[in-house]
């Protein structure tokens, strides 16, 4: 994941310096050719896109001597630019180097990064819900062997998922709908369509809707009506012709004299946009009141065609309100209506009224529209501009009863032969893949055209109803390191999410749905998160808690603890190490704390210590080796009060603290001598011995133990004057003598 390269650059003029290394790096992109040779399932187009050039604004004045490139967050590259040291050895402003980030163009121009993130957030809940339902269904089907796992509510679940995802793809920038209906506006602008939404709707209609494939041709007709404009950028389309004509329409006085009027209407009719055609027909000059009497027959013909169009029988469930055409659900009814309708067209076509129509354009235009409605192949071909439009017109007027993917696919092949295309739009590739029933092609087109988000979520639809696809996508593959294609694509998507600072938190949802590598990658992801900020740290810990990753929790707590400790935030550092129950590190920092408590002994600093010692608590488990600090602080406090002159009582308290400290098993051995050295004053107390015989013996034994320990190689010598041990021993001996005498 981290291709970084360092090399010298001979360019002299730093202002003209550009990131040539990027191009170099693109060429070096690993695995493009070698993987495909080994049968990789992720196709990468061999024709490399034009090399992108990103200017670097590093502002260095001196020539560049070295560059280093590595991945930063998301789509950014981090480029470290090193300037050559100046030749005369002088140090100037702008010497040294600079680190700049280069944001690589985010692939899809139609979707902004913010919109992409909104999709990523929104798809989490539908995805998670579907996964839990899947798990429930599969465990249920294990219990009752006979029933198929996918029946009953299953299709409702899939459809709900698909609808939820589809709702996310709506572009929020909806154009305002005009309140008044403009008679001259033939096409209305709704929301801006996106290829991504168009692609999802294709998948939805073919895979998620409960398979009732007899409706599919009509669904495709509707689909093209919504998304034909998407092809306008790369292909000629009916939609773009309509848009062009709309612009001219305002200036046209007599529309029927313009050959374009008839051309555009035929095209719109061919792809089934009946409402638009009827609306345009009514713009015909013969409808004007002042001309109606002169052009009665002509107007009758126009109206007859308009009525025939609005009565077109359609084999579909229902229409949106206001849409023209008559719907038939049952095939026999439809066939009857269809034959009757065609009979009416034929009758009109051969009627004698045409000879009475004086206006030539009207006569020819209307008759060619009749040919389209009769399914004349040549008319359809010349009225449409690309193969999909031709394909749709065949469904409408030639083969309305087409059923089954196989015949739909062969029809598509025929349409492509009739209207070959120079370059394929990403949606066209997807349609071919779907019709060809080739799951691999569909996946590859999704990935190539729409990216990892699409693939990760579309797989749910692909596997929904097809056992074949399910086997293909769930099969564990040796060439993928033992994981299935489904898991591969989820991992890829999770990896994309992980690389952005705002989306990494949703990557776990996808990772845990990956059986083989998900958990390990989740642990790596969590371990890599920054620990500096408490809020982010706690968010990581929360995710660990949800997935019961206790060892990761304690690891990141340890990292946070050491980080805070190193930056002088001893309280925070201590807290996190304590939470991690990291006794080893707590013992290590105990030494430093001990030194600080010993050195900074004043009233003011006691206030500072108070908080930390409170945090320690008295439970030895949570305090690590540090609970003695509590007593040590008390001991030091009493010692200090002796200095202040509150003599004997404080001295007694100090002795009690000293004894309990020395008795405490958690008191590290290396602190014994400094502690005793601190208490020399107590041992040599003038008025009377403060320690009794048994107390003195205890301390002498400890001192003996210490002398033995000094012989061991791992003993840590304390920073005390060399005669410290002797003076303590002497003082203890003297005290013992005095104590015996007293008793």
């Amino acid at each position: 994941m981290n291709p970084s390269s360092t090399f010298a650059n001979p360019l002299e003029n730093p202002n003209a310096f550009r990131l040539h290394s990027l191009i170099y790096w693109q060429k070096e992109m690993p695995g493009v050719s070698s993987d495909s040779a080994r049968g990789a399932l992720v196709p990468l187009s061999p024709e490399s896109p034009a090399a992108a050039v990103y200017p670097l604004r590093h502002g260095l004045k001196s020539p560049i001597s070295r560059l280093s490139i590595s991945w930063s967050r998301g789509n950014s590259l981090r480029v470290s630019v090193f300037a050559a040291p100046s030749s005369d050895g002088s140090v100037n402003d702008g010497d040294g180097g600079k680190v700049v980030e280069v944001k690589l163009g985010g692939g899809d121009g139609e979707i902004s990064e913010a919109h992409w993130r909104r999709m990523a957030y929104g798809s989490v809940s539908p995805f998670a819900l579907l996964q839990s339902r899947k798990n429930a269904v599969s465990s249920l089907s294990k219990m009752s062997m006979n029933s198929s796992p996918y029946d009953g509510d299953w299709w409702d679940y899939i459809m709900e998922y698909s609808k939820d995802i589809n709702a996310l793809l709506v572009n929020k920038k909806t154009a305002s709908v005009p309140v008044l209906d403009d008679p001259k506006s033939v096409i209305t602008k709704g929301e801006e369509p996106t290829s991504l939404k168009a692609a999802w709707e294709l998948l939805e209609m073919f895979y998620a809707e409960k398979p009732s494939h007899s409706w599919l041709p009509e669904r495709l007709v509707d689909w093209l009506a919504d998304y034909d404009s998407l092809f306008s950028g790369t292909h000629p389309t009916v939609h773009s012709k309509l848009v062009d004509f709309q612009k001219e329409l305002v200036n046209l006085q007599v529309v029927e004299d313009d050959p374009k009027y008839w051309e555009v209407m035929s095209s719109a009719l061919a792809v089934g946009w009946l409402n638009i055609v009827v609306k345009m027909l009514r713009l015909h000059g013969s409808y004007r009141l002042d001309q109606l009497s002169n052009r009665e027959t002509e107007n009758g013909l126009v109206e007859a065609v308009a009525v025939l169009i609005s009565k077109m029988p359609r084999m579909r469930l229902e229409h949106e309100a206001g849409k023209l055409g008559e719907c038939y659900k049952a095939k026999p009814d439809f066939v009857k209506a269809w034959e009757k309708w065609r009979g009416q067209i034929n009758k009109l076509d051969s009627s004698a009224f045409w000879f009475q129509c004086a206006h030539q354009q009207t006569r020819e235009g209307l008759r060619s529209m009749l040919q389209i409605m009769l399914g004349n192949a040549n008319s359809l071909c010349s009225a449409t501009y690309n193969w999909i439009e031709l394909y749709i017109s065949h469904f409408l007027y030639m083969r309305p009863l087409t059923v089954g993917l196989e015949s739909m696919y062969s029809l598509a092949q025929k349409s492509i032969q009739l209207k070959p295309m120079a370059s394929a739009h990403r949606l066209m590739g997807l349609i071919i893949g779907i019709l060809g029933e080739n799951t691999e092609v569909v996946l590859a087109e999704c990935l190539k055209g729409f990216g990892p988000w699409m693939v990760a979520h579309a797989i749910e639809l692909l596997t929904a109803g097809s056992d074949h696809a399910e086997m293909l996508l769930h099969e564990e593959r040796q060439n993928l390191g033992g994981i299935s294609i489904e898991e591969l694509h989820r991992l890829v998507y999770a990896q994309v999410l992980s690389s952005f600072p705002l989306t990494w938190q949703i990557a776990p949802i996808y990772l845990i749905s990956c059986m083989k590598h998900g958990m390990v990658l989740l642990q790596i992801l969590l371990s890599k998160q920054p620990v500096q900020d408490n809020q982010l740290l706690l968010k990581s810990i929360e995710i660990c808690r949800l997935y019961e990753l206790h060892s990761v929790t304690s690891n990141i707590m340890k990292i946070a603890g050491v980080h805070h400790w190193k930056h002088g935030r001893k309280g925070s550092g201590f807290f996190w190490l304590q939470q991690a129950r990291d006794e080893y590190r707590l013992n290590r920092i105990a030494l430093q704390l001990f030194d600080s408590v010993g050195k900074t002994i004043s009233d003011e600093s006691f206030k500072q210590w108070e908080g930390l010692i409170q945090l320690l608590g008295s439970d030895s488990k949570t305090a690590g080796g540090l609970e003695f600090l509590h007593k040590y602080r008390d001991f030091k406090k009493s010692l200090r009060q002796i200095h202040d002159g509150k003599a004997t009582d404080s001295a007694r308290q100090a002795v009690e603290s000293l004894i309990s400290l020395m008795k405490s098993p958690s008191m590290p051995q290396r602190f014994w001598l400094p502690l005793l050295y601190d208490s020399l004053k107590l041992l040599n107390w003038k008025e009377r011995p403060l320690l009794n015989v048994s107390q003195t013996n205890l301390l002498l034994n400890k001192l003996q133990e210490l002398s033995m320990a000094r012989l061991r190689p791992d003993f840590i010598e304390s920073e005390l004057p060399p005669r410290a041990l002797n003076s303590v021993r002497l003082a203890l001996g003297t005290n013992l003598g005095r104590a015996i005498l007293e008793e």
Binding site: S112, R118, K172, E542, H564, G571, K607, G611, Q614
Partner: protein
């Protein structure tokens, strides 16, 4: 657990922002019908933090509220804490940053919400590392800031010098870190930190906190951090705090060391009746109540409390009653604010780059 929908109507509107929201606060309105909010954004695409004043139109033609940006101020670093003081017509904002600076902003709501930076403290040594919390004294001219570096600073901004002067109240030299702060009276304030500890300070008494609450009631269990403190103006003896492990507790200064646990660790409840097990990011007394008068509630009883949490819960807790869940989001709710003038309105920031506006009726 009770759900709000069944008992009283609640309207929720989620407004995507396309930017991460670090903090959100209501501003006191000039007229009763106006509503303004201050929002601290972080734009991840351009890496730029800012504070914006937005006019919240509660009911445009379509029944969902809209936010209209009025003015914007670019911050030198991300906002770690944002507080407002309710003075009209120029409400004050105190914004603390992760780079350790403090900014006092004034917004003129009458003249289109123009926001100006009144004063800034950004010198080295003010705080080392981020300022973790800040609080503005109500209607006053003082601001207290705390950090994990253990510093407690008091910033005064009388006069119109653009450089602020500050006074170090205490420096724990990092031995103690503070993560929350709240004024109790013109001279007293409370801070919170690690191990569920709360400190009570009086700026007339120097050299450290005057009273400390040891948060070690949950001995043996995991301890936590206090993220937010609130003090009710009529109940100054009680500090309300929210923090790790879904913990919401109150410390009555008169009752020494025994906390009143409202939710979370140490309640001894069965885990399934817990409101939340994750971080409680913010707590505020909920002034929206159906009871005729809060003075009727006995002074030993804790007033209703609103909380938001990492696991997406926004809820109202009343002592001894089932908590009332207002929101259960699929992502974290990082902060919220109750409108002082009209407490039925709540604004909260969601982890997934959006705001939610709630109207209770």
């Amino acid at each position: 657990m009770a759900f709000a929908e069944s008992q009283n109507p609640l309207r929720v509107h989620r407004i995507p922002q396309s930017r991460y929201i670090d903090a959100v606060r209501w501003l006191s309105p000039v007229s009763p019908s106006d509503r303004f909010a201050a929002i601290a954004y972080f734009d991840a695409d351009t890496n730029s933090p800012s504070i914006e004043i937005a006019y919240v139109d509660p009911n445009p033609q379509s029944s969902s509220p809209t936010l209209t940006p009025q003015s914007s101020w670019t911050s030198p670093s991300r906002i770690s804490s944002l507080k407002t003081a309710h003075s009209t017509p120029q409400p004050l904002l105190a914004a603390a940053t992760f780079s350790g600076s403090l900014h006092i902003l004034a917004s003129d709501l009458i003249n289109g919400g123009v926001m100006e930076s009144e004063a800034t403290v950004s010198e080295l040594g003010f705080h080392s590392g981020p300022v973790s919390a800040v609080d503005l004294r109500e209607g006053g001219t003082e601001c207290v800031s705390v950090g994990e570096d253990g510093r407690v600073n008091l910033v005064c901004f009388v006069g119109d010098s653009s450089k602020l002067s500050y006074r170090r109240i205490f420096d724990a030299n990092g031995l103690v870190g503070y993560t929350a702060v709240k004024w109790a009276s013109p001279s007293e304030f409370a801070t919170g930190g690690y191990g569920f500890g709360i400190q009570w300070w009086d700026q007339r008494t120097s050299g450290g906190p005057v009273l400390q609450f040891k948060g070690n009631w949950c001995q043996g269990k995991t301890s936590g951090i206090v993220h937010s403190i609130d003090i009710h103006p009529s109940r100054k003896h009680t500090c309300l705090a929210g923090g790790s492990s879904g913990t919401v507790f109150a410390w009555d200064r008169r009752a020494a060391q025994q906390p009143i646990v409202l939710s979370g660790a140490g309640t001894g409840e069965a885990p399934n009746s817990l409101l939340s097990e994750s971080e409680v990011w913010e707590v505020q007394y909920d002034r929206y109540t159906r009871r005729s008068n809060i003075s009727n509630i006995s002074s030993t009883r804790i007033l209703p409390v609103m909380i938001c949490s990492e696991d997406g819960i926004l809820a109202v807790i009343e002592q001894g009653e089932e908590p009332l869940e207002l929101l259960a989001e699929p992502c974290a709710i990082n902060s919220f604010d109750i409108d002082q003038q009209n407490p039925s309105n709540v604004i909260c920031s969601l982890e997934w780059e959006s705001l939610a506006i709630l109207t209770r009726s």
